[in-house]
Symmetry: C2
Subunit: 333 residues, 2 copies
């Protein structure tokens, strides 16, 4: 686990979009986002206090989180100076960058010298078990999509917030780099070795109170040939009691695969349910989450209403219109 709270490192972000991870933390774990550290020329702003390393330590920050993508996959000399100063100042560092902190000898040496930790969340740090398929106590919900990057993480995070607001017991379980940096823990599933994928999800969602819900971040799609095995492992390791279908209605082809059409929501529903019932015969599809970010308001509402009528399931854009109806659907189970 990554120690919280965080100081968000925005570096010299060339534009606000580059600071996607920082924005996720600020949006979803505002308690963790104690402050931000911006270098000269930084074009992003999380609207949290600007702090020096010393000020952030004083305020209780434990980890400097790299909240921004670096340019060209290289940790620049300017970044390096800040990161070394952070380690010397008592911070751990957490990163989801493609180029790893632990591949930088000077950072490794400084971390060792100062007794600090470097968290490369793209690299699994746990020896996961082989899945055993045994039923666990507590309940689990998994978002499954028609494609990659259709809003499965946001769906689960929105549902966690709505469920907590209703007084339900719920925990978002991150399975990707951004989710891990948002919450401070999870499984970087796309980097787990094949034999241990399902076991890593069993590890992530252990026995819990009977009325507790794990909200498992979905990955990939059963219909995406590049990543379908990852989705399969999530379903069989996650043992879901409830599935939420996720879809982005303006997508013209599967992500990264021009010419390959998206499946229908009905096809995702039927296949996911068949597979989930192998490990949890009581699994149901509880609702549909539509990512309407590319639709104007009237079309967004119209699309959701159309899907709701067609599938007979509560259908919302949880980020745009709230996840209350999805939370309610789980509460009724």
């Amino acid at each position: 686990m990554i120690e919280t709270p965080y100081l968000l490192f925005l570096g010299d972000a060339p534009d606000p979009l580059a600071a996607k991870v920082a924005r996720g933390i600020r949006d979803w774990r505002p308690d963790y986002a104690l402050g931000q550290l911006r270098m000269e020329g930084c074009k992003a702003d999380m609207h949290v206090p600007d702090m020096t390393l010393a000020e952030a330590r004083q305020a209780g920050a434990k980890t400097l989180v790299i909240g921004v993508a670096n340019r060209g996959g290289v940790i620049s000399a300017a970044w390096k100076r800040e990161l070394l100063a952070a380690l010397e100042g008592g911070f751990d560092i957490a990163s989801g960058l493609h180029n790893l902190l632990c591949d930088e000898p000077d950072l490794v040496a400084a971390a060792q010298a100062n007794g600090r930790r470097l968290h490369d969340v793209r690299v699994p740090s746990v020896t996961y078990p082989i899945a055993n398929g045994e039923r666990r106590r507590g309940k689990r919900c998994l978002s499954v999509g028609t494609d990659c990057s259709v809003g499965k993480m946001y769906t689960a995070l929105c549902m966690e917030r709505s469920m907590e607001a209703r007084g339900m017991s719920a925990t978002f379980r991150a399975t990707g780099q951004t989710g891990i940096l948002i919450t401070g823990g999870g499984v970087p599933l796309d980097a787990v070795v094949a034999d241990f994928m399902a076991g890593s999800i069993e590890w992530l969602t252990p026995d819990n109170d009977p009325d507790h819900w794990d909200l498992i971040e979905g990955q990939g799609s059963l219909f995406h040939p590049s990543y379908s095995g990852v989705t399969m492992a999530l379903i069989h390791g996650g043992q879901p009691d409830a599935l939420i279908l996720s879809h982005e209605p303006t997508r013209t082809h599967m992500r990264g695969l021009p010419g390959r059409a998206l499946p229908t929501l009905e096809a995702v529903r039927d296949l996911s349910l068949d597979l989930a019932r192998m490990v949890n015969p009581d699994c149901v599809v509880a609702g549909v989450s539509i990512n309407t970010q590319n639709l104007p308001e009237d079309q967004a509402l119209g699309y959701c209403a159309e899907v709701e009528a067609r599938l007979g399931l509560p259908t919302v854009d949880p980020f745009r219109h709230g996840a209350e109806r999805l939370a309610e659907a789980l509460a009724k189970l």
Copy 2:
């Protein structure tokens, strides 16, 4: 690729069963099995010439293949002396042992000093691509099973032999450690990182002649919750034109999961075909392979006849009774 032919290292095998890998090579690639190296107390015999290291080099052997499981997961001092002598004598070494050659500093040093290679086939040595799902030329057949370890590798190897005997063009494609050591190459799929599983199978079975068949070694089972994601990646990365269903009729529960019943052959047929047709709409189920090793001859034949009548597909134990009918089924496609 591992250089052939081999000298089979049987070490001090405590019993014939311990030399499973050596037996696989001897049975399936007799041309590679130039000779065997047995230490004092060895209880296994491949019935190939006993050779010293020097004799085997003289005869043209390139790689010493560890064809036996070691005791307690430790490479003993007695083994170590032989392995060091092999490296000094000009051999590469290949191993599927859990404890890796490359974790033994003295072997690594000796390999470097002598310009030799250590092949730990449990560790992927290739940077695999992300799968792109594009159709490839040539044909592919994949064995899918009701469970793990029901005979999928033997099925594919038997079919390769029968197809070659018919003059068909066919290549067994190994996806596990034993298969890799038998053939000298392949993908150790269970050790591949999640995001690259399907891509590794695309890499393994590239464009080929229109009438060439890749016979892809199956792994796991769609119905085995520990490994189903691996099987899914094989189906979507393999893009099969034909599936062979594999089953062991005396198995009382899924391997390693007491209490979990095996699926029916019909269920495996239907789910596998649905998934395969996502990437290859022309895929068909071509036949059934029954592993009858635990049945007497009359029951073995009776069971195959019963399945054949039920499923309407050629059904054989390809190892016991030959794979001709499965080869014929592919030839007809």
